[in-house]
């Protein structure tokens, strides 16, 4: 009886699941094949291209639009006929559906975004997407040659017919494949993109970052298992990422895709870092076991695009924070991924932003490749925690970008080069807005201690300081009070230094207070009173005379 009642519910749930997945697919998969490239269709496509694509991809489709040189990765040069994200064999042209997928859902973490009208009203309808794709295909002669058509020549890759379902078994097999295929030699043992000792370049000569596969928001052509499978089956044209069709069979590639999927980091959702009280000394060592008990909080960072020199190609997009405190001190642990350990700093290579800071100049953004050196041994890795100097009233705070002259901020700036040479790793400083550099505090006011380490493409830095210092320019911590906190971060080999950095907006750190004993007393009391009332009612009912059933 019960089961038969559940059937409609189960059916409804199944229907809902089908509906949801069809919604998800609707965006990426066309309902019909590309229409014939008639004159009218190409004209429509040209109009759309002119209005929506040309300022990045260029009027000629050569990837040289006005915005192009500020972007990494650069916009695709359509005239070459080289496309990275395909479902075709290595070196082949993409299918129409491949282009449709890219236009529809965009490439995550890049300037190429979704153009799907299902997602926003001013997007492109399916017909419009087909029209612009037909036009884009006119830029490369290769598309005119039927011998190069991957569909005609049978070069399209299909997904495995019966893929292993996602689970621990296939993940374990995938890990063995990762080892065997030497994926780690570029992507690093833990997938953080730290396998190479130096920069790799793409076919166009630009330095490329080996993908950190643990950050799903940067997986350009989609982070689902089928997407990942396709990447090492088709290879990524123009980059060092090869196709593994010859060295790995279909089954192994699917296991590998499942394993890569399992490495993806799940972001924590909260905006407040809870610092846990501990007895005894706080850890200074990044590997100390005491850290295992502290709640982590992920903070997302963006490029510093608030003021010139603006930077939209940040390397560090997430920092994970933890905090512990005792009756005297507070300690933070900051963890972030960085493929190269940069502990040199060359002041002579520092970028002069004056040209970018003019009103009405050509641009206030730093170019992706030509303005600052993106090379090893140039600039240091660095990170900073920022707090308001004055305790905030209500929600009022200094501006997250270094405060202002009337509302100062206090920064703890850790510098890899100083830490490496045994000097004080973290400097305390004060800032009154971004227009002036951070003013380092006097030596006798420096109280932040801690150690750092770089291992397997990841920095782990500890900063420890007394809760209160007595200096009026220092942040003070007190249990039960929300203290605003934000992060600035620099990856030296990405050319980052000064205001060319990534930064976060305000979050909070909250030092936990013990629960007062009265709370438990009230709860127990409520339980006892309610229980007594229940028993009283029960007694009362039992003592009442049992009524005669009103039968006829």
């Amino acid at each position: 009886m019960r089961i038969s009642k559940m059937i409609p519910t189960a059916f409804g749930a199944a229907l809902a699941a089908v509906w949801i997945s069809s919604q998800a697919l609707a965006a990426n998969v066309p309902s019909k094949p590309m229409p014939e490239a008639t004159e009218a269709l190409l004209e429509q496509g040209r109009d759309i291209y002119f209005g929506r694509c040309s300022f990045c991809h260029g009027l000629l489709g050569d990837g040289e639009g006005p915005a192009a040189k500020y972007l990494d990765p650069r916009p695709r040069d359509f005239t070459l006929g080289t496309f990275k994200f395909r479902t075709t064999q290595s070196g082949e042209l993409p299918t129409n559906e491949d282009l449709f997928r890219t236009v529809s859902r965009g490439l995550q973490g890049t300037a190429m975004q979704s153009f799907d009208s299902d997602l926003f009203k001013n997007g492109l309808s399916e017909d419009e997407r087909w029209a612009v794709i037909a036009y884009i295909k006119t830029f490369a002669q290769e598309f005119d040659d039927p011998e190069l058509d991957p569909v005609e020549t049978g070069k399209v890759i299909s997904l495995p017919a019966s893929p292993a379902p996602y689970g621990p078994e296939t993940i374990a097999k995938g890990e063995a494949v990762f080892e065997k295929a030497k994926c780690w030699s570029c992507h690093g043992k833990l997938g953080r993109g730290d396998g190479n000792k130096e920069f790799r370049k793409d076919d166009w000569g630009f330095p490329i970052r080996i993908r950190n596969v643990t950050h799903p928001w940067k997986i350009k052509a989609g982070g689902e298992v089928a997407d990942i499978y396709m990447r090492f089956t088709s290879g990524i044209s123009g980059t060092p990422m090869p196709s593994f069709v010859k060295s790995l069979n279909e089954e192994d590639r699917w296991h590998l895709a499942n394993y890569i999927k399992s490495l993806q980091h799940q972001l924590t959702g909260h905006q407040t870092l809870r610092a846990k009280p501990v007895q005894g000394a706080l850890p200074e060592n990044p590997d100390d076991e005491a850290w295992n008990t502290a709640q982590p909080m992920d903070i997302r960072l963006a490029g510093q695009v608030v003021a010139a020199p603006r930077w939209q190609n940040p390397s560090i997009e997430m920092v994970t924070l933890q905090a512990l405190f005792n009756d005297k001190e507070i300690a933070f642990r900051l963890i972030w991924d960085d493929a190269f350990k940069d502990v040199a700093h060359d002041e002579t290579k520092v970028f002069n932003p004056n040209e970018l800071a003019k009103v009405g100049g050509f641009s206030s953004y730093v170019e992706a490749n030509d303005m600052v050196p993106r090379a090893l041994e140039t600039f240091r890795d660095s990170i900073a925690l920022q707090f308001p100097v004055k305790p905030p009233q209500g929600t009022k705070k200094p501006h997250f970008y270094r405060g202002s002259s009337s509302d100062q901020v206090h920064l703890w700036v850790w510098k890899a080069d100083q830490a490496e040479t045994g000097k004080r790793g973290t400097e305390e400083g004060t800032a009154r807005g971004w227009k002036q550099p951070i003013k380092v505090q006097a030596e006798d006011g420096q109280q932040v201690m801690g150690q750092a380490k770089w291992d397997q493409g990841r920095w782990t830095v500890v900063m420890k300081r007394p809760l209160k210092t007595g200096d009026k320019n220092d942040v003070a911590f007190e249990p039960g009070v929300f203290v605003p906190m934000s992060v600035n971060a620099w990856d030296g080999s990405n050319g980052e230094h000064g205001l060319i950095m990534s930064l976060s907006t305000w979050h909070y750190v909250f030092l936990e207070t013990p629960t007062p004993i009265s709370v438990y007393v009230y709860a127990v009391l409520a339980f006892l009173i309610a229980g007594a009332v229940g028993i009283w009612l029960m007694r009362k009912a039992e003592n009442e005379e049992e009524p005669v059933e009103a039968g006829v």
């Binding site: 002119f50 939209q312 953004y365």
Partner: protein, 321 residues
């Protein structure tokens, strides 16, 4: 055969469950149909409380309407209290209810970690200078002199483009070798102007529409260079930097953003950015730059023109004074 009858107690419980389900899930589900928004509108907690209290009052009246009704309602309760539905069930329920109450008391009294928060005003007007209210976009409304100058440039085939697009335009002209540089615009207004240039008879309205096209072209390039990183390719507030900011960049395709404000307000916001906001708009969380430090007035107006065009929105018309 006796008609199966649902007892008064059970029907009261069922009614409460049904009403709760309707308010909790029914109304939000219906709201999606009505609003056609991609997300449901939840019923606020106070409203839920109100509905439930009303339902309980109505049920109370219904049950206590007659002694018979009340007895009907109380019969299963009393039977339960006497252990008529097995004693173990009675023990479980009489422990569970006090435990639930105790837990609720704990939930209410335990100190909460409540993040300081305030209602944020998205379009604050407390410090908006009145002089900006009626400001019109000079790029969208060019003067006669502007139009004449553009006609002269077009006639001489020496159209002056902003430096930011010049390289791309020159590359195009070199490759295509057109009769006239304006041929790069596939739009109808520009094609009409080109036809008139050939015949030598240029009318001002055509030239004005063509000049608008040119400004849109330049404005889109400036948007892509300056604003796109946060506000996105399609002005939908989803640029590659968007996830890094607590206050997400505004989605201009949303109803209730740039179409509910006058152009002068947009211009003021673009010029002064986050730091120019009053406290009720939490300026300390806004990543919006003070664009007056980087862009000229003309550049800002060109961008605003392109932004409204890309969003397929029109600004609110200023109220006449």
């Amino acid at each position: 055969m006796k008609k199966p009858r649902v007892g008064s107690f059970l029907s009261v419980v069922l009614t409460l469950v049904v009403v709760y389900a309707l308010v909790k899930w029914g109304i939000p589900a219906l709201s999606r149909e009505v609003t056609t928004l991609p997300f449901p509108l939840p019923v606020p907690g106070t409203l839920m409380f109100f509905y439930m209290v009303l339902t309980i009052v109505a049920l109370f009246l219904f049950v206590t309407f007659s002694d018979e009704g009340l007895n009907d309602f109380l019969r299963p309760v009393k039977k339960f209290l006497r252990g008529g539905y097995t004693k173990s069930l009675r023990a479980v329920v009489l422990t569970a209810i006090p435990a639930l109450i105790g837990w609720q008391v704990y939930e209410i009294t335990v100190p909460k970690m409540e993040v300081p928060s305030s209602l944020r005003i998205q379009h604050p007007s407390s410090n908006f200078p009145k002089s900006f209210e009626a400001k019109k976009n000079p790029i969208a409304n060019p003067t006669e002199a502007d139009v004449d100058a553009f006609i002269e440039q077009a006639k001489a085939n020496e159209v002056d483009f902003i430096p930011q697009v010049r390289d791309d335009v020159e590359n195009w002209a070199e490759e295509v070798d057109p009769d006239h540089v304006l041929e790069l615009f596939p739009t109808a207004a520009m094609q009409k102007l080109l036809a008139q240039l050939q015949s030598g008879d240029v009318d001002k309205d055509t030239a004005r529409a063509a000049l608008l096209e040119k400004n849109l072209f330049e404005g889109r390039a400036l948007y892509a260079m300056n604003c796109r990183a946060c506000h996105g390719d399609s002005v939908a507030g989803d640029g590659p930097m968007a996830d890094g900011f607590k206050l997400r960049p505004i989605n201009f395709t949303d109803n209730g953003t740039i179409e509910t404000i006058v152009e002068g307000y947009t211009f003021w916001r673009v010029a002064n950015g986050g730091p120019g906001l009053p406290a009720e708009a939490t300026p300390w969380d806004s990543a919006m730059p003070e664009w007056k430090l980087s862009l000229t007035e003309a550049q800002r107006w060109q961008i605003i023109l392109a932004e409204y065009d890309l969003a397929q929105k029109t600004p609110r018309i200023p109220e006449s004074h």
